[in-house]
């Protein structure tokens, strides 16, 4: 960002079309990034104005400068312009419903920064017959007011000209409303409690504005904990007012609304009241106890099915394409290895073979494992932005609020949590629709506990191999009951984890869950496309790198050190295998895996996992499952010498599991081991992609590290309790 270019910040209430307007003026060059140290995203762009381009910043929507949450703090910093001086503010107003958005506008005007008001949603105002007079508002506020329609681009040239004008104008006018003399004196005194950097060089008007902000600031709010406010002085001012029978908070907010209520009638010349009938009619159906619940269930069913199964062909297509590419390259590299061995000797041949493996297993496999998430992320964000733009997402949150309150989460957490049952990666990204940082972080930490579809093949393998079909006296299939139990367990534990983490780890002040239910609108395709594109590019470019590197490292662990096939199997073993008709290649693969770093790690891990009923071979399977949980199945296939394409319903794999014995002759796999393993898979953080996306969305390694620690501890303790408890009760 160059220092000379003027910087224009777009501010406004949520649901006023601010981002649509911002996207319209900045075009496709806008760049979304996380504000350092937060989960809040900010959009930067450039706006070509007459007389040169300006830098533009879009901050999260906010109702006031209160900064109760990380999002509002980002907005506050940009508006006050502490880090980068702000040249001008574009305050986006909701034309048909001015009262609400004027509150923020007045607060901003008090600060004395040059302001242009964009009177947005003029198309809705015209449809409703409720068109405010821009001239009258400009006269009242003393700043330019430009009617615009963000969706169509109407009025943007005039808006640009007005912005250019205020940037170059001498000084902005004083705000139209005045606090009482007593309040003004309190505000000036309160301004002294603020850090020097805030008030240095401020005009008296700006000092009053900052003082009013300080009078409402609360010392318990985490979002402003880093601002060095003299709370003792503030408490003194508040106490004196209280003793005089005054309500300072009521006065500060009240003097702004008093002005708004006074001027509002004169803004709408035709004075048609807002027509609520249409919205209320739709709400009566969509929020009806019966019809509303049915619509909600249907919408969520479609979202879930899309993630869980309808995205399947796309995912399989990407998988297949990379599998095919891997086979082609593997074939070419095998031929090259042979040619190199004959022409340049075995050492060169081995080197070419290594390169081939790295290329096929590490790089092609790694890129494939990144791109395979694209269908699910793209489709989920398509749905979320359609629901958000139309106004239904807020209704869904309203409907689910009562239920999610049990977990200490707001209704908006429902869609991410539901998505988690398909895949945690898109689900973690879907928490972007949660407005508060605390809620978003808490949801992200809990989503990996929901029973994602990658756990299902593991459950199916263990249940089918180790659990009896029927148990005498049990009216339902024991296998079906075991599967159902795993899903129920995952749900209950996710809720409990949210409650506990919400109390102990992700605390933060509880703001009242006031949620605006915006008017229904047709989704705006450019908004939808932008949301999908931003999610995909953030995933591929940032989380993707981590996934790619981690996949290569994991491949290295599983395939090094490397051996010649002749080193792995003794001639006797080969002869025996030939006689029994067992594949020599499979046996060699198994032996290579046993001797690999992962195999060594699996053995080193044995003391830790033995109390859960696992041997070192299961340890290798657990390591392999970090690539993705379902890889456990094929890794176990490798471990037991039946090749790496074993599926969960492979009878020969089931037989191998049954035949496996501990050194003392006890069987390794009993129903109890199966239960212990399933519980471990239910709670353990075994997904590199989830960790990568957690890092991307929280902009730190701290939270993925925390999620790993708490989930691993939970998994170990639970599996220990199941296995040892089961043994005490005489099972297994």
């Amino acid at each position: 960002m160059s220092a000379e270019q003027p910087r224009v910040v777009f501010v406004g209430n949520p649901n006023t079309g601010k981002s649509t307007l911002f996207n319209r003026v900045t075009g496709s060059a806008a760049h979304v990034s996380n504000v350092p140290g937060t989960t809040v995203s900010r959009t930067d762009g450039r706006w070509s104005l007459p007389g040169g381009a300006v830098e533009c910043v879009d901050v999260p929507g906010t109702y006031s400068l209160a900064a109760h949450s990380a999002d509002e703090r980002v907005a506050l910093d940009a508006i006050i312009g502490l880090e980068h001086p702000t040249s001008a503010l574009v305050v986006v107003l909701d034309a048909p419903r001015l009262a609400r958005s004027l509150y923020l506008a007045l607060q901003v005007l008090e600060l004395g920064t040059p302001v242009v008001c964009a009177l947005n949603l003029m198309d809705e105002a015209r449809t409703q017959g409720r068109v405010p007079s821009a001239e009258r508002l400009a006269e009242l506020l003393g700043v330019p007011v430009v009617p615009v329609v963000g969706r169509t681009g109407e009025g943007l040239d005039a808006l640009g000209a007005a912005v250019r004008e205020v940037i170059e104008a001498a000084s902005p006018p004083p705000p139209p409303h005045e606090p009482s003399d007593a309040l003004r004196a309190d505000a000036l005194a309160a301004a002294d409690s603020l850090p020097e950097a805030w008030t240095a060089g401020a005009s008296e008007g700006r000092r009053v504005a900052l003082g009013l902000w300080a009078l409402l600031s609360d010392d318990g709010v985490e979002a402003i904990a880093d601002v060095a406010i003299d709370h003792v002085a503030l408490v003194g001012i508040r106490r004196r007012a209280e003793d005089a029978g005054r309500d300072l908070m009521g006065e500060v907010v009240g003097h702004r609304y008093a002005w708004i209520d006074r001027v509002s009638p004169s803004l709408y010349s035709d004075a048609a009241p807002v027509d609520h009938a249409a919205q209320d009619r739709v709400d009566r159906i969509l929020l009806h106890p019966l019809w509303g619940s049915l619509v909600f269930a249907a919408v969520m069913f479609v979202v879930f099915q899309t993630l869980f199964s309808w995205s399947g062909p796309l995912v399989d297509g990407i998988d297949g394409a990379f599998g095919w590419l891997g086979d082609v390259v593997a074939g070419a590299m095998a031929a090259a290895t042979e040619a190199a061995t004959t022409s340049a000797g075995p050492a060169v041949g081995a080197a070419v073979g290594f390169l081939g493996d790295l290329l096929v297993e590490g790089i092609i496999g790694g890129v494939g494992s990144v791109l395979v998430f694209i269908p699910q992320i793209g489709l989920l964000f398509l749905f979320i932005s359609l629901l958000e733009d139309s106004g239904y997402l807020a209704r869904a949150a309203h409907l689910m609020d009562r239920i999610l309150r049990l977990a200490g989460l707001p209704g908006q957490a429902f869609v991410p949590l539901l998505s988690g049952y398909a895949c945690a990666v898109p689900a973690v990204m879907a928490t972007r629709s949660l407005p508060r940082h605390r809620d978003r972080l808490l949801t992200m930490l809990v989503v990996p506990l929901t029973s994602c579809s990658a756990r299902l093949p593991v459950y199916v393998l263990l249940v089918a191999a180790l659990f009896p079909e029927t148990v005498p006296g049990l009216p339902v299939s024991a296998q079906a009951l075991a599967l159902f139990t795993m899903y129920a367990l995952s749900t209950v534990v996710s809720v409990l984890a949210a409650v506990v983490l919400g109390r102990l780890v992700v605390t933060g002040t509880a703001a009242p869950a006031l949620l605006e239910l915006p008017p229904y609108r047709w989704p705006h395709p450019p908004n939808v496309w932008r949301s999908v594109k931003n999610a995909l590019s953030a995933f591929v470019t940032e989380a993707g790198q981590v996934i790619l590197v981690a996949t290569i490292v994991l491949w290295g662990l599983l395939s090094f050190p490397r051996y010649e096939p002749t080193e792995l199997l003794s001639p006797d073993t080969v002869a025996e295998a030939r006689a029994e008709g067992v594949s020599i290649d499979d046996l060699a693969q198994t032996e290579a895996l046993r001797r690999s770093y992962a195999g060594q790690l699996g053995r080193a891990m044995e003391p830790v996992i033995a109390p859960l009923g696992y041997d070192w071979k299961i340890g290798i399977g657990l390591l392999g499952s970090f690539a993705a949980r379902e890889v456990f199945v094929s890794t176990m296939g490798l471990v037991y010498g039946i090749g790496d394409d074993a599926a969960e319903d492979d009878v020969s794999l089931h037989e191998k599991l049954h035949a496996e014995k501990h050194p003392d002759g006890r069987p390794v796999y009993t129903p109890l081991t199966g239960a212990s393993l399933m519980v471990f898979f239910a709670f353990a953080m075994q997904c590199l992609s989830t960790l990568a996306v957690l890092r991307r969305e929280t902009e730190s390694w701290r939270w993925p590290a925390f999620a790993t620690a708490y989930m691993m501890a939970l998994a170990w303790v639970s599996a220990f309790a199941v296995y040892q408890g089961g043994r005490l009760l005489g099972f297994g």
């Binding site: 109702y63 419903r97 908070m249 609304y257 807002v274 929020l287 002040t509």
Partner: protein, 73 residues
């Protein structure tokens, strides 16, 4: 009478907003001030949160929060 006692479809004027700190500030800043007209327009299927209309905007508010808003009459 408090906001959660208001019958669906009826309107009243806010007398006072209780609570303190962040909570009270949020309600006030959203325009729920003494003297403001507020209408209850419905509730979620489980009976909570409520749907109210203040200054032409529909808000979803939990019953426990609505209880802190005193109404006239």
């Amino acid at each position: 009478m408090t906001l959660d006692d208001l019958a669906t479809g009826s309107e009243a004027t806010v007398a006072s907003v209780g609570g303190e700190g962040v909570f009270r500030r949020r309600l006030l800043e959203l325009g729920l001030l003494p003297g403001t007209r507020v209408a209850r327009i419905g509730q979620a299927p489980l009976g909570d949160p409520l749907r109210i209309r203040v200054r032409d905007v529909v808000l979803s508010i939990r019953r426990v929060d609505a209880r802190r808003v005193e109404l006239n009459g």
